[in-house]
């Protein structure tokens, strides 16, 4: 009984993976990964009527107990037709985003065609796989999405070990379980691409709100306004913060009642 209680308490503050690691290996001395800044994060992406939507909270954590910043951007434009959103170690994310921006720009510049979304996901998977054999592998979990050369909107999830998958709606980061539940409840409209931009923003905010309620690594909607960006046939567009704030206020008001 005591053990169950202890585990329950532990689960509420430390992600499950940490507990398992602790159980397997025992307590470890402060390593590089513990000292680094992490974006515990909830980053999500799904397809809607006009394209793909990416949303992310704004918190950067120091290990799992400190907060460095609640004004971070976790969604980055790679090219005019693609976005990347990352969870993991801040330094590694910055390295990966820079490398991906250079590749996307370089391909376009050299060959005159945009690099496909699958091509970008494969390239990132290759980078992460190469680094997975290093002493300190890159701690990055990423979402890449945008308009493919076939005229379809695609989203790929890329893991730190170089694995990848394609999906209609994907969530990454420590708030995955909570946000994914919200998206899963709306999988029908997402798959059928029935959501318009307004509905999509509301859905994304609700998912981040749920994650912020329960996850230590995700910023609360009442404290920090999430970042939302879309890629449509017209290209990349970051949604105006005032629109997101307005939608967030409505959501918070509704949740209070």
């Amino acid at each position: 009984m005591k053990r169950e209680l202890l585990e329950r308490v532990l689960h509420s503050v430390i992600p499950r993976s940490q507990i398992l690691e602790h159980a397997r290996n025992g307590p470890k001395s402060a390593s590089r990964s513990e000292k680094r800044m992490h974006s515990g994060t909830t980053v999500l992406a799904f397809r809607y009527a006009d394209g793909v939507l990416f949303a992310a909270d704004r918190k950067t954590s120091d290990s799992y107990l400190g907060i460095i910043d609640v004004d971070s951007y976790k969604i980055h434009q790679l090219s005019n037709l693609s976005i990347i959103g990352c969870a993991g170690s801040v330094g590694d994310i910055q390295f990966v985003v820079k490398a991906m921006e250079q590749v996307a720009e370089g391909f376009w510049g050299q060959f005159g065609y945009p690099l496909s979304i699958l091509g970008q996901a494969n390239h990132l998977a290759n980078i992460l796989r190469d680094f997975s054999f290093y002493v300190w592998p890159l701690e990055v979990h990423a979402l890449i999405g945008g308009l493919s050369l076939k005229g379809e909107f695609e989203i790929y999830e890329v893991w730190g070990d170089g694995g990848k998958r394609k999906g209609d709606y994907i969530t990454i980061g420590s708030g995955t379980d909570y946000a994914q539940t919200v998206l899963k409840a709306n999988k029908g409209p997402i798959r059928d691409k029935k959501l318009n931009l307004k509905n999509s923003i509301d859905l994304a905010l609700k998912a981040i709100y749920r994650a912020g309620e329960s996850d230590n690594g995700t910023s609360d909607l009442r404290i920090a306004t999430p970042t939302i960006a879309v890629v449509t046939k017209n290209g990349f567009e970051e949604i105006d913060t005032r629109i997101i704030e307005k939608a967030a206020r409505v959501l918070i008001e509704r949740e209070r009642q």
Partner: protein, 204 residues
């Protein structure tokens, strides 16, 4: 004195290079790829001693003609190397005409300028892409790009023998205006017989 001998050495290298280029040109004197740009039909006529090879995907179509099977095999190897490299690094969707152009140009130029190899690869490449460009890469890596919307009726690559080229251009003007299997076969046989070519084929 040292300067002088260096100058003679350089001149020797340039002479060797010119001879290598000329020899490859001569080997390709009666090998050609012609793009027939009719309002009714667009197709490619390839002539030479060996059957050309054709590659492509949703983004482009590419024809490689060579003097011998060995030359053609090098072109095929090069294409496979490029496509597998691009597919492994990015994806198959990212294999564009400009990617092929870039790799082929570099490889053929490298082979031509590598003076440790006495003979160049006798290859001609023609690429048509979905953007309406027709790209020609010659054996030395030189490129020419035409717009398919232009008024040019015939776009010719190879055929470095001037007399052969003149007569061929006159004959290619008589090429069938529509893609008709019988008419093309008759025209192909006519070219084979007249110019003593072992292989003339058509690619739509």
């Amino acid at each position: 004195m040292a300067k002088r001998s260096r100058r003679f050495m350089d001149l020797g290298l340039i002479q060797d290079f010119a001879v290598k280029k000329l020899e490859t040109e001569q080997r390709l004197s009666r090998v050609f790829i012609a793009f027939i740009n009719n309002p009714m039909a667009r197709y490619v006529v390839v002539g030479g001693d060996v059957t050309p090879c054709k590659f492509g995907n949703n983004n482009f179509s590419c024809v490689i003609a060579g003097r011998s099977l060995a030359d053609l095999a090098y072109g095929q190897d090069l294409f496979r190397e490029i496509s597998s490299h691009v597919a492994a690094t990015f994806s198959e969707e990212d294999l564009h005409s400009t990617v092929i152009l870039d790799f082929f140009r570099t490889a053929l130029r490298w082979e031509m300028e590598d003076m440790r190899v006495p003979q160049g690869y006798a290859l001609e490449v023609m690429i048509a892409d979905k953007m309406g460009h027709l790209i020609r890469i010659d054996f030395s890596g030189e490129i020419e790009i035409d717009d398919l919307g232009d008024d040019k009726d015939i776009i010719l690559s190879g055929a470095y023998d001037e007399n052969f080229k003149k007569r061929l251009l006159v004959d290619l003007k008589k090429a069938p205006k529509k893609i008709n299997e019988e008419a093309l076969e008759i025209f192909g046989k006519y070219l084979e017989k007249k110019y003593k070519l072992k292989n003339v084929c058509f690619i739509a």
